[in-house]
């Protein structure tokens, strides 16, 4: 039963993650008083892109073509490692958070290399920013999950999330609140959402993530966009597990709650994007430091 729920989670994540982007865009459109693009727009985009050929610049080498492929394979590994709320991941073992963090790191590394391979100054700038911000986001993620690991005494992600609220809410509430706040900031930063980066902007000087994929097209771009949607799902699932203190002990009901949670998080992201302005680039590291400090406090609180 539990393994069935895990498999269903992976299938749903693979099929519904583009819808997550659609939900965010729909919420943003509602806030702006527009009708907005269709909920399934990203599916149409992906379908269109998959039927296109690719044009490669003569400056680029094999590194440029490997980037999107490694990206999507890395995120597929990540999605099989991440539990959704109380539903365990497809694969779970001690210390799998480190694999998760570095699989996502590998994805970023290859995107950065592919961006640098084009020899474009703008892409180099975007790559520099991406690396700078992830440098600060990564310790925050590891510290946050570390805090949860200390307070549950478990070392695998599925174990941590499975037993997080089993001793009652009171024991872990402060730690969980801090980790949730920290994870939300990391979620926004890692998926280049608004306070950090504007996914809709087309001004190279201010872009971070989008600027790195300017030279990709066709199937490669489809892979990149799909991988970005899946990465958003991974972080939403991590966040829902901490922020949603529900445990039903029926795997399928837990799965339903988790799914609802993921889409609520998407709506929250939409609200944040509509109500907040983008931070100045100089302020972004400050925000990430705050998220790392929140995670650090969670660790201290769990250790006391």
């Amino acid at each position: 039963m539990i393994i069935l729920a895990s498999i269903i989670h992976v299938v749903l994540a693979l099929s519904l993650s583009p819808l997550l982007i659609g939900v965010i865009n729909r919420v943003k459109a509602k806030f702006a008083g527009r009708r907005g693009r269709p909920l399934l727009q990203l599916y149409y985009d992906l379908w269109k892109l998959l039927h296109k050929g690719a044009v490669y610049s003569t400056t680029t080498t094999w590194v440029f073509r490997t980037g999107p492929l490694v990206g999507i394979s890395a995120v597929l590994v990540a999605i099989s490692l991440v539990p959704l709320g109380r539903v365990p991941a497809l694969a779970a073992f001690d210390g799998d958070i480190i694999l998760l963090a570095y699989v996502l790191g590998l994805m970023r590394f290859m995107t950065v290399l592919a961006a640098l391979d084009t020899g474009s100054a703008f892409e180099g700038m975007g790559a520099g920013r991406e690396v700078q911000f992830s440098l600060l986001a990564e310790p925050a993620l590891l510290l946050g999950v570390g805090a949860l690991s200390i307070s549950t005494g478990d070392w695998s992600l599925s174990g941590i999330y499975g037993s997080l609220f089993s001793d009652g809410l009171a024991a872990v509430a402060p730690t969980a609140v801090m980790v949730a706040a920290s994870l939300l900031i990391i979620l926004l930063a890692e998926n280049s959402r608004i306070p950090v980066d504007d996914p809709n902007t087309h001004l190279e000087l201010t872009m971070i993530h989008e600027v790195m994929v300017l030279d990709h097209g066709g199937v490669d771009l489809a892979f990149i966009q799909y991988a970005a949607a899946l990465k958003l799902w991974v972080f939403c699932a991590l966040f829902v597990g901490v922020a949603l203190p529900l445990q039903m002990h029926w795997p399928l009901v837990d799965l339903a709650f988790g799914m609802a949670g993921v889409f609520i998080v998407a709506m929250v992201i939409g609200v944040i994007e509509s109500t907040m302005a983008r931070l100045r680039l100089l302020r972004v590291p400050q925000m990430l430091v705050v998220s790392a400090v929140l995670a650090m406090i969670a660790v201290l609180w769990a250790l006391r």
């Binding site: 590291p285 705050v290 650090m296 406090i297």
Partner: protein
């Protein structure tokens, strides 16, 4: 009620960090006011599982009134009078201040370990958090340039002392507490006037220039 106390403690820690991170004086003033309200709430949440005398409740209410309403009003007036919106160029930057804050918190947890048994049951976080608030206040006093921000640091420190008092004594002498409160009120009142005078004399309230003052 221990979960409520824990979350209030967390809130206090977060307000301290906000104090360290924000450059706007108005935000810092609001922060000190929030701390005062949290302080009152902590006293009430503790009274749920320990017998607390009526005097302590009176002190809590007057604390919220004085530190949450009167002092912020005074400080806002001083801020408008001096015409400063934000602290520019502190001695220690904001990101490093927050990091130092986290280190201080860790230090407080270590120091407070032997003292844990002396506080109320179910509120083992009171002493480290109180120490952290005191240290945050001290740190703001030494790391900021403007006289007004230093006054806010002093108030933060005072809030920490107050948490310390709540954590150690179930029955405090009413007179002593009220005396402290009156001291703080008069102190901040005087500091407000001094800030005004400094500002009128020198057109700024940077305290580091006061050290080279000669008559």
């Amino acid at each position: 009620m221990s979960i409520l106390t824990d979350l209030l403690m967390m809130l206090l820690v977060l307000t301290n960090l906000r104090m360290l991170a924000s450059s706007r004086v108005a935000v810092c003033i609001q922060n000190v006011a929030i701390q005062a309200v949290v302080l009152g709430a902590i006293t009430f949440s503790l009274s749920a599982h320990a017998a607390i005398a009526a005097g302590v409740i009176v002190v809590a209410i007057s604390t919220v009134a004085v530190k949450g309403l009167v002092l912020p009003w005074l400080l806002r007036r001083a801020m408008k009078g001096a015409g400063i919106g934000r602290e520019i160029e502190p001695f220690v930057g904001y990101a490093s201040s927050v990091l130092i804050g986290a280190v201080l918190l860790g230090l407080c947890f270590v120091i407070a370990r032997p003292l844990r048994d002396t506080s109320h049951a179910g509120a083992s976080m009171l002493i480290p958090v109180a120490m952290f608030t005191i240290l945050t206040g001290l740190f703001i006093i030494i790391s900021r340039r403007k006289a007004l921000t230093q006054v806010l640091g002093y108030l933060t420190m005072e809030n920490g002392v107050c948490v310390f008092g709540v954590s150690l004594a179930v029955e405090e002498p009413l007179l002593v507490e009220m005396g402290i409160l009156l001291d703080v009120l008069v102190g901040v009142f005087v500091m407000g006037i001094v800030i005004h005078q400094i500002n009128r004399e020198f057109d700024h309230i940077d305290t580091d220039r006061l050290s080279v003052l000669k008559d």
